[in-house]
């Protein structure tokens, strides 16, 4: 069981802050493939991957990263702090 969290427009497009996912995915990219099949909203949210960033257990990483024992995956657009 993995906790998937969404922020900013990904959260709005998907309509959820987080969801618990049962998955056999081994990488972030595999997990995204699975998430895309959950609903049209998910497919739309993950349609432009140039605008999506990912963090595993609150550390920024890239789409090829292995999930390993990750408990929390977060997807969000490029950050705009400051």
């Amino acid at each position: 069981m993995i906790d998937v969290r969404y922020f900013a427009w990904l959260r709005e497009r998907i309509g959820e802050r987080s969801e618990q996912i049962e998955t056999n995915a081994t990488t972030v990219a595999d997990l995204i493939e699975e998430l895309r099949t959950r609903s049209e909203a998910h497919a739309l949210a993950f349609s432009d991957m140039a605008s999506v960033r990912v963090a595993l257990d609150q550390e920024l990483t890239d789409m090829d990263a292995p999930l390993g024992n990750t408990r929390e995956v977060a997807f969000f657009p490029p950050m705009t702090g400051g």
């Binding site: 900013a8 609150q58 550390e59 977060a74 969000f76 657009p77 950050m79 705009t80 702090g81 400051g82």
Partner: protein, 150 residues
């Protein structure tokens, strides 16, 4: 070192004085604060979302790196979230060092990194509706001069 992520406003004068009082060996204190631009009167409000937990960790790691690289005496980051009005303070950084060049560079480094590596997202509310602010390519390029992987 101090990291604060909060929805309440902060008093810049008070914070700078308290920070300065806490770094007796320093010869220089540099401070910066970022405000909500009114965009020529078109902006009604700004909302800042963040990722509690990761935000603090990311700011901590950026702060650690700045202290190490510029031998800072100390550094402070305060960043707000929630709904803000034009003219309000969004965030501030303060750095202290023995000499001013380290304090200035350390502060610039903190600003460059927290703009695109700390999990904050800005949404602007205008008369036409609400829109998420796009990240700027120039912010990404600003990181390159530091040659760091943070």
């Amino acid at each position: 070192m101090s990291i604060r992520v909060q929805s309440q406003p902060f008093d810049m004068g008070f914070e700078v004085q308290a920070f300065t009082d806490s770094v007796p060996g320093a010869g220089a204190v540099v401070t910066f604060s970022g405000l909500v631009r009114d965009e020529g009167g078109s902006l009604g409000a700004m909302e800042i979302e963040h990722y509690p937990g990761m935000t603090e960790k990311a700011l901590q790691s950026i702060c650690d790196e700045a202290i190490e690289r510029w031998s800072l005496t100390d550094a402070l980051i305060i960043h707000r979230h929630g709904k803000l009005s034009p003219g309000e303070q969004i965030m501030m950084v303060a750095t202290a060092a023995r000499h001013r060049s380290d304090a200035f560079e350390g502060a610039e480094f903190l600003m460059d990194f927290l703009k695109s590596r700390a999990p904050f997202w800005k949404k602007e509310f205008t008369g036409d509706g609400a829109e998420w602010v796009d990240a700027k390519q120039s912010d990404e390029e600003a990181l390159e001069r530091w040659g760091s992987e943070t």
